[in-house]
Point group: D2
Amino acid sequence: MKVLVFAASLRKASLNRKLAALTASLLERDPSLQIDHADYRDFEMPLYDGDLEESSGLPSGSREFISRIQQAGAIVISTPEYNGSIPGTLKNALDWASRAKPNPLDKKPVLLLGASPGALGAIRGLWHTRVPLEALGAFVYPQMHGLSKAHEAFDDAGQLRDSKDAEQLMKLLQTFVQFANATNSTGK
Amino acid sequence: MKVLVFAASLRKASLNRKLAALTASLLERDPSLQIDHADYRDFEMPLYDGDLEESSGLPSGSREFISRIQQAGAIVISTPEYNGSIPGTLKNALDWASRAKPNPLDKKPVLLLGASPGALGAIRGLWHTRVPLEALGAFVYPQMHGLSKAHEAFDDAGQLRDSKDAEQLMKLLQTFVQFANATNSTGK
Amino acid sequence: MKVLVFAASLRKASLNRKLAALTASLLERDPSLQIDHADYRDFEMPLYDGDLEESSGLPSGSREFISRIQQAGAIVISTPEYNGSIPGTLKNALDWASRAKPNPLDKKPVLLLGASPGALGAIRGLWHTRVPLEALGAFVYPQMHGLSKAHEAFDDAGQLRDSKDAEQLMKLLQTFVQFANATNSTGK
Amino acid sequence: MKVLVFAASLRKASLNRKLAALTASLLERDPSLQIDHADYRDFEMPLYDGDLEESSGLPSGSREFISRIQQAGAIVISTPEYNGSIPGTLKNALDWASRAKPNPLDKKPVLLLGASPGALGAIRGLWHTRVPLEALGAFVYPQMHGLSKAHEAFDDAGQLRDSKDAEQLMKLLQTFVQFANATNSTGK
């Protein structure tokens, strides 16, 4: 199974990029998986505009995003929380993706992670990030992982300092991969 | 697989009871399924009270609810929307159930249906009903079915008058059963 | 202005009872306010049942709840979070209250507080508690106060040990009272 | 009081543009109000990028949006629903606006409207649009107006064909203006 992993942040020093990179490296330990660790900048696209869509079709960054989703058997997104909810950039990417036919997110297993310097670990935002994904038919894994105080959480090698956090993340990734394999087995 | 089906309404003439009854009869056509069509009154229980729990443990209606969840491989709930959200009665049943160890809803496939006399078909409420179920680890199917104008939707035999509605429901039940079988195959 | 203050928990040693008691005492410092510090047990009522409503009307605990809401110019609720959302008991009380005519919560200013022993301070649940209140037309104050690690937060006199927490709460109460006075001035 | 009115859609033939235009004209009947009927294209801005913000500050479309919010005593937004939630474009505008100091949305009265060709009138999306606005401290009016089957709702003069719909909207605008005047009277 191919797993698409990306951080929904354009900022280079983003804590979510660190969490996505760690996640990709943890998943790579499983020889049955191929990891597509994407750079969010590969998916740069304009703000959704129905007139632009009508005149020019889906923009290239959006087509790239859709193609990478289609090729993946599962998706892991590490996303910041902006103002208690999903970042506009991520919602915009989903809005464009929802215009493809067939809908690439239908029945796609998705795991949500979030890193934040605060005490809440982006967890409020993750709950609102579920909504459009589930509206599009994605199988969003119920458990999520919000990494709080993320600016202090990583060592220089990009590993989590707290071994309990690291174990929780590893366990979550393993159970999510089982879930993704099972749901993919049903055909679509 | 055993499927627990119930309407989250105590009212005898509830439209959700009709939708649950129809759903149970549709699922019974599949010989691989055993249908546990429960009466919500079997699960009568007091309002959650931590002192009561400490002195007397879980009340009998709650223990019955938990036991029926444990025995089921999948759950279908037809629920009204009260004030834009989950009915207090259903949330109360989930709050008591969440006190059992191990948590009976963890990794349990759940499908949400809703009937309403209005134009929105209880769909706003269903989105808020997902939240505590997913917080408890349930695999809530992303697609849901809100039956609008439900007071006019059923014929005297309890079937849906609109054949398109009936087909949509049948199709949703079939894809949910596939999903439930797949996710149950992973072990827990 | 009369302010109704209560904790949405039946448990005697509830951390939310402590937070409600502290809140009531802080509000009492303002001579322009009359504080109705209610015991949630005054509002005991059965689970919502449309048949019961039809045969017997609103139960007495519900009528008491509605009456106390009607007499108040503002409401402060300190509520736990159960399973990431509103407690079933509180939702049930709102469901019964919504059956009164006229709707007692319409245009009523409400402030939500929450205490929790965890790190998140019940804040996820507070966001879902807003929904039925706003669906009923209440003016739910946007800022809320989630008291995290609440089991360590109070001293023996029921005051907050952390002076920063105490100041934040005091400031929030003051701005909420201004908001409530202003919105009540418009007539209804 | 100045009221900022805009549709959160870039599409020229957007049903939400029609609803915003009608709303602006209805509000103009009140001589105590000045209506700033904005074109969403005035607020064009890139996707939020923390690195861009650090190197270049807030983009000009965002500064324009913030300035128009600051000058307004109240805001009316007519917004489509994309995938059951807030459009990415609107969330992106809010994400940039939230970076201004002081936060221009704090204590700002906001009314949400939505037009949709479907039966649900964008109402699910409006509930999720409340969240970031309330997280930013805005006083989002509890009642909202979802215009269903909006492609058939307007006559050639841009008025609503259904007089009941028209009255509901007019009444909502009037009560919102009262609310906005009252909350603005408290000072900030």
